[in-house]
Amino acid sequence: MFAKSASQGGISNKDAETIIGASVRVEGNFVCEGDMIVDGEVSGRIETNGFLQVGNRAVINADVKAGNGKISGAIKGNVKIDGFLELTGSAKIEGDIEVGTMSMESGAVLNGRCVMVAVKNDGRRAAKGIETDQDQGAEADTTEEAK
């Protein structure tokens, strides 16, 4: 379901397990299991292993962690997404982003650092970088020295 959601650029209300409407205010550790849609106000922390969709009316003052995401609203806090993140033209983020893959529409505002990471099988996150021949050679030398 997540792959389908990501490729289609979002989730419908029907797929979401948790929906926070525009008139609702949440304070604290907002931790859920499934897909989540946020159109209201959240302060504290948001965490889900599913898909997080932040609507354009949403105001979030929180660190955010999710499996995949689509952001159209305002977030003041750090964002960690394991998989795919889509920032639409109305997105405003003040904070650092750590993400697997990302698309950013013209008009989106990002004031912060952006690091592309890969989540390894053991759950560790490592920054994706450009591997050069020199890097590979250095790695080989270190292995030989170790022998």
Binding site: S12, N13, K14, A16, E17, T18, I19, I20, G21, A22, S23, V24, R25, V26, E27, G28, N29, F30, V31, C32, D39, G40, G44
Partner: protein, 246 residues
């Protein structure tokens, strides 16, 4: 042994024919048992508590949603199976469980058991939904976060029927192991046109942080100043029909 609890309204003449038919059919199916008729001097809680001491196999509610809700809340957590014979006009709970006045005796005979969740408001059980009434209600969900919403209708839902208001999300189910906080607010979306903005949050436990609040359980019973709402997962064993909605 089956214990049949008859609603006080069944003493009205208009129900005699239907009751006679039901009783004859139960006898044919070998399901006859003790009949307890409710009245002004016999409350449902006294009768159910008294019968539970005799360790019955099944307690059958014979009546409408009002009686069914009351008996469900009294049987929650007891482990005794509940049967339903719907008689009267308001029978939406029975219908959602696949029981109609026509098939009720056969459903009872087939004894298809389903463990369903109940909701608890402090120590009182409810089946379908609770409305929280008050100003500036603040709720602490699962001990993790506070939820507030001004001017919206706040409800806690165990399950919704197909005939209930249309939901854009998947309908909360009676066997999910969760309750759902449902916050609804009307929004003007044009001239004489209103949209419903609805929030839906699954939870296991909820604390009411506001003092002046009232809870209306299943539209029937009021609880003043409720403190805690929680799910009693698989808290009731109920006999259901094949055409049930979950």
């Amino acid at each position: 042994m089956h214990i049949y609890i008859y609603d006080s309204a069944l003493s009205q003449k208009k129900h005699f024919t239907q009751l006679n038919e039901v009783e004859a059919k139960l006898t044919d199916l070998g399901l006859s048992g003790r009949i307890c008729r409710l009245g002004q001097l016999r409350s449902v809680s006294d009768v159910v508590r008294g019968e539970l001491r005799r360790l019955p196999k099944t307690i059958v509610a014979v009546g409408d949603d009002n009686l069914i809700s009351q008996i469900i809340s009294l049987l929650g957590g007891s482990g005794v199976a509940m049967g339903i014979i719907p008689i009267g006009e308001n029978n939406r709970i029975a219908e959602s469980l696949g029981i109609t006045s026509d098939n009720a005796c056969n459903v009872l005979a087939a004894r298809r058991l389903l463990q369903i969740d109940l909701g608890l408001v402090d120590s009182r059980a409810f089946v379908r939904r609770v409305e929280l009434v008050g100003k500036k209600i603040k709720l602490l969900v699962d001990g993790n976060y506070l939820i507030s919403s001004d001017g919206a209708k706040i409800e806690v839902v165990n399950f919704l029927l197909d005939t209930d208001e249309s939901l854009t999300t998947e309908r909360p189910k009676i066997t999910s192991g969760n309750l759902y906080l449902m916050i609804t607010r009307e929004q003007k979306s044009g001239f004489l046109k209103k949209d419903l903005e609805r929030s839906l949050i699954p939870f296991a436990e909820l604390a009411v942080e506001t003092d002046e609040t009232e809870a209306v359980l299943d539209g029937l019973t009021k609880v003043r100043h409720p403190k805690r709402l929680a799910v009693l997962a698989r808290g009731l064993v109920v006999i259901v029909g094949r055409e049930r909605q979950f």
